[in-house]
């Protein structure tokens, strides 16, 4: 019982830690790609603590404040459903399908909070975020279905177990894995899919009115978000991992490639982004799905 509670406390902290390190690396990687020296490695911690310790915080209403909290709670919930080596706490209570919808709680909370600001930039940002979500959801569900059919289970832990000994989905279903990468990348909202927050157009979109501790919580949520998306990708396609170290290495590898991609792209218009997702990733994912069905 005590160990369960301990694990229950540890898992979110672990996810937070991983997400935090990724953000740290992100700033540094970006700087190095741009041939800059870049900020100190622990700059995100400074940023976060500074935000949390702001003397003045404003709120546009209860929902405005609850938004980040719901978002973070949703993200923490999702973390429990992703198998981490040795720490599979709740994976039996909900499967991959449940996870897909649990992940939506975070977006919903954020959208509610942002909506309450009545700021046009925020509303446009949410409109774009939801549209983009609709966009990448189509290839996402197709590859999720192909993975489910491949392993005849919707239970994530079983999917991970089935990929043991190097039988990664990446090798058995390479097309799905490629699409999965693109979709995860889109879900993280990096270039060219950063139309949601596009600072030059809509002033960071949904976050426009957020500052101080609210913004701090949203940053924490973003760290969780990065963790969830990449961990899910690793679990689905890279065979999970047998220990935390390999898990971290795999995640970092994926994240590293993503950050490199981030630097080379420009920005999609929102409808172009949706069209993109509904065109090539969908077609490739469908081909992969048909391969699974025929097999």
């Amino acid at each position: 019982m005590v160990s369960t509670i301990l694990i229950a406390i540890c898992v979110p902290l672990l996810a937070f830690a991983i997400g935090l390190t990724f953000i740290m690396f992100k700033l540094k990687i970006t700087a190095r790609v741009q041939r800059r020296y870049g900020p100190p490695i622990i700059q995100p911690i400074y940023n976060l603590l500074k935000l949390l310790l702001k003397e003045d915080n404003i709120s546009h209403g209860v929902i405005f404040s609850l938004g980040p909290i719901i978002a973070l709670a949703g993200s923490i919930l999702a973390v429990f459903f992703i198998p981490i080596p040795g720490l599979n706490l709740l994976t039996g209570s909900g499967d991959l399908i449940a996870l897909l919808y649990i992940m939506a709680i975070g977006s919903l909370g954020m959208a509610l909070g942002a909506g309450n600001t009545a700021n046009p930039n925020a509303s446009i940002g949410i409109s774009r975020a939801l549209t983009l979500m609709f966009g990448y959801d189509l290839p996402l569900v197709i590859i999720v279905i192909s993975v489910i059919l491949q392993y005849h289970t919707t239970n994530l832990a079983d999917i991970v177990a089935a990929q043991a000994n190097g039988h990664w989905t990446l090798w058995t279903l390479p097309l799905s894995a490629i699409v999965g990468f693109v979709v995860t990348y889109g879900a993280l909202g990096e270039h060219p899919f950063d139309i949601i927050t596009a600072p030059h157009e809509v002033a960071t979109g949904p976050m426009v009115e957020y500052g101080g501790k609210h913004l701090g919580f949203l940053m924490i949520n973003h760290m969780f978000h990065i963790y969830i998306e990449i961990a899910l990708f690793v679990d689905l396609f890279l065979g999970g991992a047998s220990n935390l170290f390999w898990f971290y290495i795999k995640m970092f590898g994926v994240f590293f490639i993503m950050m490199l991609c981030d630097e080379v792209f420009l920005r999609f218009k929102i409808d172009d982004a949706v069209r993109f997702f509904w065109k090539w990733p969908t077609v490739v994912a469908l081909i992969s799905l048909i391969i699974v069905l025929v097999k």
Partner: protein, 170 residues
């Protein structure tokens, strides 16, 4: 005891604040031209934890880069008032100091300090990126020592500032 904790917290907070300064720049004049070199790889101000931000709620520093006139002053004040404490203002270039080359224009606000409290001014027309970075470092020192108290002054002398603002804006 409680006061001591608060002081400690403030000290830590100031330490953190000076390492993470986000700025919103109000680009009206030519001074803004000097910011891109400062941000990009040549001078790379992110080394100091500085980063450009776009909304008043998220920013810590309001950078007034150039002259202000009646119309822009109104917006600058709105932005300043929307920023969250603690917040700092930097007057950038001689325009913000005394009107610069527009010193005799009827439409230009000559003295920023009469309307919002500036913590620091950067002289020059234009100030070089080196000057800008030096200024930021000075601001960090001021924050660390707790002397960057423009937002407190604004609250304290609100009547004075409002009176000045009203005179100009009507």
């Amino acid at each position: 005891m409680e006061k001591m904790t608060q002081d400690q917290v403030r000290t830590i907070a100031n330490m953190l604040r000076k390492r993470s300064l986000w700025m919103i720049h109000y680009c009206t004049g030519c001074g803004a031209m000097e910011l891109p070199p400062t941000m990009t790889s040549r001078y790379d101000m992110s080394r100091l934890g500085l980063a450009p931000f776009v909304t008043s709620r998220q920013a810590d520093i309001l950078l007034i880069t150039g002259y202000l006139n009646v119309k822009t002053l109104r917006r600058v004040i709105t932005v300043y008032e929307q920023m969250l404490d603690p917040k700092y203002v930097i007057g950038f270039g001689s325009c913000a100091l005394n009107g610069g080359v527009y010193w005799d224009s009827y439409a230009v606000i000559k003295q920023l300090d009469r309307y919002i409290p500036a913590d620091l001014y950067i002289a020059g027309c234009m100030p070089r990126p080196e000057a800008i970075i030096t200024a930021f470092q000075d601001l960090m020192d001021l924050i660390d020592s707790g002397k960057a108290d423009g937002y407190k002054r604004y609250k304290r002398d609100l009547a004075y500032y409002k009176e000045n603002q009203r005179k100009v804006l009507g």
